[in-house]
């Protein structure tokens, strides 16, 4: 089955991919997976020795941008390397057969490789009118996904639409769109993002090839290596946040000097993803680097929960806009969990991730390690991670038109302010919970920002 390492490398060389590039790729994948560098040879050996893993790529209700993201991914080209260790037997955007021949290719892939292929699915699944809002060969995509995932080793749902319905499920959508997990069977892992970061897709597949299982996930089915970190904590502009250096208007002094985009509506403090550390296009850039805020595209229902994208959010728990500060406080007081501010959220995610990593005798890989912070706080009822069965609000779908029509001035609450000193806290420090009294109800006319007294002083302009 397996190909000898030498033959694989020879094949790569023939295609202009050097051994060094391949090893670099494996090292980067290892780091992304939060495995120690000692795992690189094991990853490389596993990838090189794998028979080409059959893949069925389905495109549900969406823009096709996730497959496109893969084609545009990084250097050495992800597509190139994936073509080496994957055999994509069905992919509508590229495959030669069309019409009945395409359907026959799919059937052949499903029967020949039963229980031996990976399903990768982008796009949402409409449920209205028996699924008639997205059909392939006259069949609802829902049924096709059902058939394909039933015989797959596992399913990777790529992009925000496949995660929770995404754009089609945003308020105003009428197709009854749901995420792939609602209709798929068998093991499933979700990689939200609009589009998915192809780097994380490659790392997930690399993990499978190396360990023959999908990576550890949170309760929402998202791999912890990619969706554990808080964007804000890993952000290259974080120091400007601490120093109170903010962009206050597009193109102003702060924008030209690369200051923090918090006040321009950046959703980095509310968003879990590793964009800040892995970037896009091989780390070439990412939105904050380019000079614009994060829009929170990896989070549940982000089109409704994170918008307006250029303003601070009125809700303390933005992805569940009907959760109020006092509800959060009550949960905390009831002892269900200590909500300790955004740093604690980050700590929780890291604790989860490290738990998973420990199972593999691994620690955070050097170089990719986020800033140290308090590790002790492990809130168990954190709606944002969908791990809060005790919070009934967590299941309520956000409804935007009404919410969007609500004048922001009427909404309560400061955004949970990060403890200003947590970035400097030693590893063993107690949780910074006291820094943030959990249940203040403050109605302000300008909820867009943190209360001014919480903000570090702003620096005066240095030039003009």
């Amino acid at each position: 089955m397996g190909r000898p390492d030498g033959a694989f490398i020879a094949e790569l060389l023939q295609r202009g991919v050097t051994r060094r590039m391949f090893m670099k790729f494996c090292a980067a994948m290892t780091a992304t997976l939060a495995l120690p560098a000692t795992y690189v040879p094991r990853v490389a050996a596993a990838v090189a020795a794998s028979p080409r893993l059959p893949v069925v790529w389905l495109r549900g209700q969406g823009c096709g941008g996730d497959g496109e993201a893969l084609l545009r991914g990084t250097n050495p080209s992800i597509a190139e390397l994936l073509l080496q260790f994957l055999s994509i037997d069905y992919v509508e955007t590229l495959m030669l057969p069309s019409g009945a021949d395409a359907t026959a290719s799919l059937q052949a892939a499903l029967t020949k490789q039963r229980n031996g292929y990976l399903a990768i699915i982008e796009g949402a699944v409409p449920t209205a009118d028996g699924g008639a809002w997205w059909t392939v060969g006259g069949r609802p995509i829902r049924d096709v996904i059902h058939d394909v995932t039933a015989g797959a080793i596992g399913t990777i749902a790529v992009g925000s639409c496949a995660f929770d319905g995404g754009l089609s499920a945003a308020s105003g959508g009428a197709s009854g769109a749901v995420g792939v997990s609602q209709v798929a069977s068998g093991p499933l892992i979700s990689l939200p993002g609009c589009p998915v970061n192809p780097w994380n897709l490659a790392a997930t597949i690399t993990h499978y090839l190396t360990f023959k299982e999908l990576p550890a996930t949170d309760a929402g089915g998202r791999p912890l290596f990619a969706y554990g970190p808080l964007v804000h904590n890993e952000c290259e502009r974080r120091a400007h946040f601490e120093f109170g250096e903010f962009v206050l208007d597009w193109g102003d002094e702060g924008a030209q000097k690369g200051w923090c985009l918090y006040k321009m509506g950046c959703k980095g403090p509310e968003t879990f993803a590793n964009c800040a550390s892995v970037g896009f296009d091989g780390g070439l850039s990412w939105p904050v680097k380019a000079g614009v805020g994060c829009i929170g595209c990896t989070m549940p229902a982000f089109w409704d929960a994170m918008s307006p994208f250029t303003r601070r959010l009125p809700s303390p728990v933005p992805f569940f806009p009907n959760v109020t500060v006092d509800q959060v406080g009550q949960l905390a007081v009831a002892g269900i969990g200590a909500v300790a501010g955004l740093h604690a959220v980050g700590s929780f995610a890291r604790a989860q991730r490290q738990g998973a990593a420990r199972r593999r005798l691994a620690r955070l890989a050097a170089g990719a390690a986020p800033a140290p912070a308090a590790e002790a706080a492990v809130p168990t009822a954190l709606p944002g991670l969908a791990s809060a069965p005790s919070a009934p609000e967590a299941t309520a779908a956000p409804v935007a038109p009404e919410r969007a029509a609500t004048p922001e001035a009427a909404v309560a609450a400061p955004a949970l302010p990060p403890a200003p000193d947590a970035g400097l806290a030693p590893e063993a420090a107690p949780p910074p919970a006291p820094a943030t009294p959990p249940a203040p109800v403050v109605t302000t006319a300008e909820p867009a920002d943190r209360p001014e007294e919480m903000l570090p002083p702003e620096r005066p302009g240095e030039g003009d």
Binding site: S77, L94, D129, A132
Partner: protein, 569 residues
């Protein structure tokens, strides 16, 4: 009479179903259906007007940038704000690069296998392929060993029991190229993938990620120059100590990367794309009349050279009726109307009559058979695509339409480029009105746009060096400054053709939004008068040698490079 259904049509964007009636091996009727619907226009309602373009961009994962730009322009038009020159140039650079990238992908990734036999390529002599390549262009990647290695690599995939997407429709009698010509295009299939990946890095540099960049802004662009711009510091001024981690996309390093990408784009298009397309189509020129269709061509035009209301456009606006390229007819927003007479929308909403998009309605109601279904043909309503018409007429849009309109407008660059292509292929003056012409037009247009890119970049550099560093006009940024009701529109071009966005903003929120994409025109169903859309009309009359392997039909379908994600939205 044979009924034939092609579904899924692969190598297109979104869900496309084509049904045909064949009599005596010739298509006598055709129905084109978009079978996927999301509802973008309705989802946009109630949102902050400044977020509209982010959602509109998600119309398409490959070519969404054109819609992002159209959307942001429509909102700017409604608010009465004009993006400064720097922002206009940046948008041109981004949208121009993406247009070229889409056109290259349209040929190599989506159309090539309709004309190129992948198995025949495996029998080619690498040295003969090298000679052929060197006779066509100065592209350095043309050695015998290069073609030898590509041939080996292809064989390893195609001949294995895991051919992946390359399970081929091989040995079809309609394939005509020599083995070497087949190998040439097959080799460049992989080069094009790699080139496109690299060149679209421009979106990552200037936009933060790709696809779906993030740096547009109502009023301009969100990216900024390095502190003070390239003209600072002036003599004697204190130098700002750059201790930032983030490199400005408009700093020296960012602009150097952009310049490199634009240069790569131009070189590839001139030395690989156009020569490959011309050499491939040279073998098929006798089919030039196949797949003609409607014969009315519409272009909204793109790439404004100034910030006025009626800017000079690098790709001109206008229409050509009945294939008469001696006469250019003016085009404006008021001529556009859409009907849902044969599409799955609620008739009582009033969309079945032709409606101007500024008052357009989108009330979806599925009216097809309960899936799974075998046939949509002959049903009264058979698609999610609306039927746009210009002054009542169905139109063909896309690269060919843009070139013909540019030709008719007397644009010297376009006339020269078209003239060269026609004479290389030995075609008559009317030789472009068909399937072959559509494919050739895409490559010719790519060279025209590629020729503009470095001019836009040097204008941008000159502007910034002169101290003009504003990237956005923020006078209307605050919704409090907006009128209680405002309407706007923008007409532009996506890779697929004439694209328009119409927006109504009420009390700071989007009250109505309508989009007409290039594919909406081309993949249009019949209108209220029963007249077919451009693709339906182009398929009628095509001869098919083997109904089980209808290669001839795929050629015409793919020549439009349809994207149903965009077309339906």
């Amino acid at each position: 009479m044979t009924h034939l259904a092609l579904d899924p049509v692969t190598r297109v964007g979104g869900q496309l179903r084509v049904e045909l009636e064949l009599s005596g091996g010739t298509v006598s009727d055709a129905w084109v259906s978009g079978t996927g619907y999301r509802g973008l226009e309705r989802i946009l309602e109630g949102r902050d007007g400044r977020d509209a373009w982010l959602m509109a961009q998600r119309i398409c994962g490959t070519g969404g940038l054109a819609h992002a730009v159209a959307s942001v322009r429509a909102v700017e038009h409604a608010l009465g704000v004009t993006a400064p020159a720097n922002a206009r140039l940046l948008r041109n650079i981004l949208a121009g690069t993406q247009l070229i990238a889409e056109e290259v992908a349209a040929f190599y990734q989506r159309q090539a296998w309709d004309w190129v036999d992948i198995r025949s390529a495996l029998t080619a002599s690498p040295s003969a392929a090298s000679k052929l390549a060197q006779s066509l262009s100065a592209w350095p990647n043309a050695t015998t060993s290069y073609f030898d290695s590509i041939r080996g690599r292809l064989a390893a995939i195609v001949n294995s029991d895991q051919p992946g997407p390359f399970a081929a429709m091989t040995g079809h009698p309609a394939y005509r190229l020599s083995a070497e010509a087949n190998l040439l295009v097959a080799a460049h299939y992989f080069d094009a993938l790699e080139w496109r990946r690299t060149v679209l890095g421009i979106e990552t540099v200037l936009g933060g990620k790709t696809p779906h960049l993030q740096t547009l802004l109502v009023g301009g662009m969100a990216i900024a120059t390095d502190w003070g711009g390239p003209s600072r510091p002036v003599q004697g001024e204190h130098l700002w100590d750059v201790v930032r981690n983030s490199i400005s996309p408009l700093g020296a390093a960012g602009l150097a990367a952009v310049a490199q990408h634009l240069d790569d784009a131009k070189t590839f298009v001139e030395q690989v794309f156009l020569p490959d397309v011309l050499n491939t189509m040279l073998a098929y020129t006798d089919l030039a009349k196949v797949g003609g269709g409607i014969g009315h061509y519409l272009a909204f035009g793109e790439f404004p050279a100034d910030s006025s209301d009626r800017p000079v456009l690098a790709l001109p606006r206008g229409r050509v009726m009945d294939r008469d390229t001696t006469r250019l007819i003016e085009v404006g927003p008021s001529g556009v109307a859409e009907t849902t007479a044969h599409a799955w929308y609620a008739p009582e909403a009033g969309g079945d009559d032709l409606r101007d998009p500024s008052t357009g309605v989108t009330v979806p109601r599925y009216g097809g058979p309960k899936p799974p279904f075998d046939a949509l043909a002959g049903r009264d309503r058979y698609s999610w695509v609306k039927a746009p018409r210009y002054e009542d007429d169905p139109m063909e849009v896309g690269p060919l339409a843009r070139l013909l309109v540019g030709y008719a407008s007397g644009d010297a660059i376009i006339q020269a480029a078209v003239g060269n292509a026609i004479s290389t292929l030995g075609l008559a003056q009317d030789g472009l009105f068909g399937t072959v012409g559509r494919i050739v037009a895409r490559a010719v247009e790519a060279t025209v746009v590629a020729g503009r890119l470095d001019g836009w970049l040097s204008d941008l550099r000159d502007n910034m060096a002169s101290g003009e560093i504003a990237m956005a006009d923020l006078t209307t940024w605050d919704p409090a400054s907006w009128p209680s009701e405002a309407q706007g529109f923008a007409l532009g071009e996506s890779a697929q053709g004439a694209a328009g966005h119409w927006v109504t903003i009420r009390d700071g929120r989007i009250a109505a939004y309508q989009i007409v994409d290039g594919t909406t025109w081309n993949a249009s169903p019949r209108d209220g008068d029963g007249r077919r859309g451009a693709l339906e009309a182009a398929l009628v009359g095509t001869s098919v040698a083997d109904a089980g392997r209808p290669l001839e039909l795929l050629r015409t379908i793919h020549s439009f490079d349809p994207c149903l994600s965009c077309g339906v939205h």
